[in-house]
Assembly symmetry: C2
Homo-oligomer: 224 residues x 2
C-alpha cells in the first residue's frame, strides 16, 4: 500500500446527507415524492454524464434544476417556480452525516484534506460554511475549473494538480459507486463508503481498494 | 427546413424491439424479471456513458453482459453462465417493430439509409441479416470505429463522414430521448419516435425537430 499524503472527499451523499431534500419533497408532493426524488437524482447524474459527453457543460445548480423539472413532469406534477426555488434552496442547507465532524477533525491532523465535487464552487462554499467544516480542508475543488463532470480523468487530475501529490498517494473517498470506478480507473487509492446496505459495486472493472461503512473508519485504515 | 439527403436510424428500441428479451427474462427469473430487465437496461446505458468518460471502451456485447451481471446481483439472483449465454444470445435474434420493413422499403427509394448504433459491428450485421433488412441500408455504422459511445460528437460525425452528406441534411431517427438530445446538439435534423406513451423529452436544451409515433410517419414528414 502506498503512503497516504492527502485524502479527497466526494461531497453529496458522502459528506452531505441529501435526505432532508426528500423530506421537503414529501411536504410538497405527498405520495409522489418518493418517485420524484428517485427520478430527480437519476436525471441529475445522467445529465452530468450526457452534458460532458455532448460538450455542453452547465453549472451543477442549473443542471440540478433541469433534472428536477424533468422529474416533476415525468410524475405528472406541474412544478411551480416557488416550489422549485424552495427545493433548490434546500441544497444550500444540507446537513453533513453525523460522524463527519469528528472524522474530519481527526484526519485533518494527519494529512491535508480536500473536497472534489461536481457541484459548483459557490454551492460547495455555502454548504461547507453552513456546516462549519470549511476549516478542515486545504482545498475545496469544483469541476467548474475544467467544465466537465466526473468520471473524466481530467476531473480527478484536477485534485492531483491542486494538491501537488502524486495520484497513487491520494486517497479518494466516495459513497457513489460510479465515482469509485472513475477515481480507481484514473489511478487514485479509492475507499467506498457503503452508506446503503443493499448497494453493490459497479461491473466496470474498477472496484474500490477498501470498503467502509462510515467515515470514522478511515483513520484506523490508514493511520494506525 | 433543409433538404434531406440521408436518413440515419438508431438500432435498439428504434428498429429492433427488445421486448422479446423481457419474455426470456420472465421464463428464467419469474417475478424478479421486471426489475432485472429495468436495471439491466439502465446499467447498459450508464456503462456506455461512464466508460466513454473514463476512456475505457469495451464492445457493446461485453458491456451489456456486465450490465446483466450487475442487474442480477442487485436483484439477489446468482446468474448461471448458461442463463447469461441464453440472454445474450437473445440479442442476436431480436425482431424489428411491425412497421419497420414497409417503412424502410418506402424510404430507401427516396434517399440513402443508414444505421448508427452503439452496438458492435458483428451484432448489427447479425441482427439486420436475421430480420432481412440489411439490403435497405447503404451503410451500417458501429461506434466500434471510434471506440466511444453516444452522445459524443465524434460518433454523430462518423455518420456524416461515412455518408458524405453535411450534418444539416442528415435526418437522425431515434426512440431514445438522450440520443435525440445528443444528435440535435451535434447539428443533425432529429426525429423522435415516441414509442412509449409516457415518455417525455429530456431537459437538456436540445428537443427533437419532429416527434412521430412510428416509422411509417417519416415518409409523409419529408417526402410529400
Amino acid at each position: 500500500m502506498n503512503p497516504v499524503e492527502a485524502i479527497v472527499f466526494d461531497a453529496y451523499g458522502t459528506l452531505f446527507d441529501v435526505q432532508s431534500i426528500q423530506r421537503k419533497l414529501e411536504k410538497l408532493y405527498n405520495t409522489r415524492a418518493a418517485s420524484i426524488g428517485q427520478v430527480w437524482r437519476q436525471k441529475q447524474l445522467e445529465y452530468t454524464w450526457l452534458r460532458t459527453l455532448m460538450q455542453r457543460y452547465v453549472p451543477f445548480t442549473k443542471l440540478t434544476q433541469d433534472a428536477l423539472l424533468y422529474a416533476c413532469e415525468a410524475n405528472g406534477v406541474n412544478a411551480q417556480p416557488e416550489e422549485v426555488n424552495q427545493l433548490m434552496e434546500a441544497y444550500n442547507q444540507l446537513d453533513v452525516f453525523t460522524e463527519v465532524h469528528a472524522a474530519l477533525q481527526q484526519l485533518s491532523q494527519q494529512v491535508p484534506l480536500a473536497i472534489l465535487s461536481n457541484a459548483n464552487q459557490e454551492l460547495l462554499d455555502r454548504a461547507t460554511t453552513y456546516n462549519q467544516i470549511k476549516p478542515y480542508f486545504k482545498d475545496i475543488i469544483s469541476v467548474d475549473a475544467v467544465e466537465q463532470f466526473k468520471t473524466v480523468p481530467t476531473v480527478y487530475q484536477l485534485a492531483v494538480d491542486r494538491l501537488k501529490v502524486s495520484a497513487e498517494r491520494v486517497v479518494f473517498v466516495s459513497s457513489n459507486t460510479w465515482d469509485v470506478a472513475g477515481a480507481k480507473s484514473f489511478g487514485l487509492q479509492v475507499v467506498w463508503v457503503k452508506r446503503k446496505q443493499d448497494a453493490i459495486v459497479e461491473q466496470l472493472g474498477f472496484p474500490p481498494d477498501h470498503t467502509i461503512e462510515q467515515l470514522g473508519d478511515l483513520s484506523s485504515l490508514f493511520f494506525s
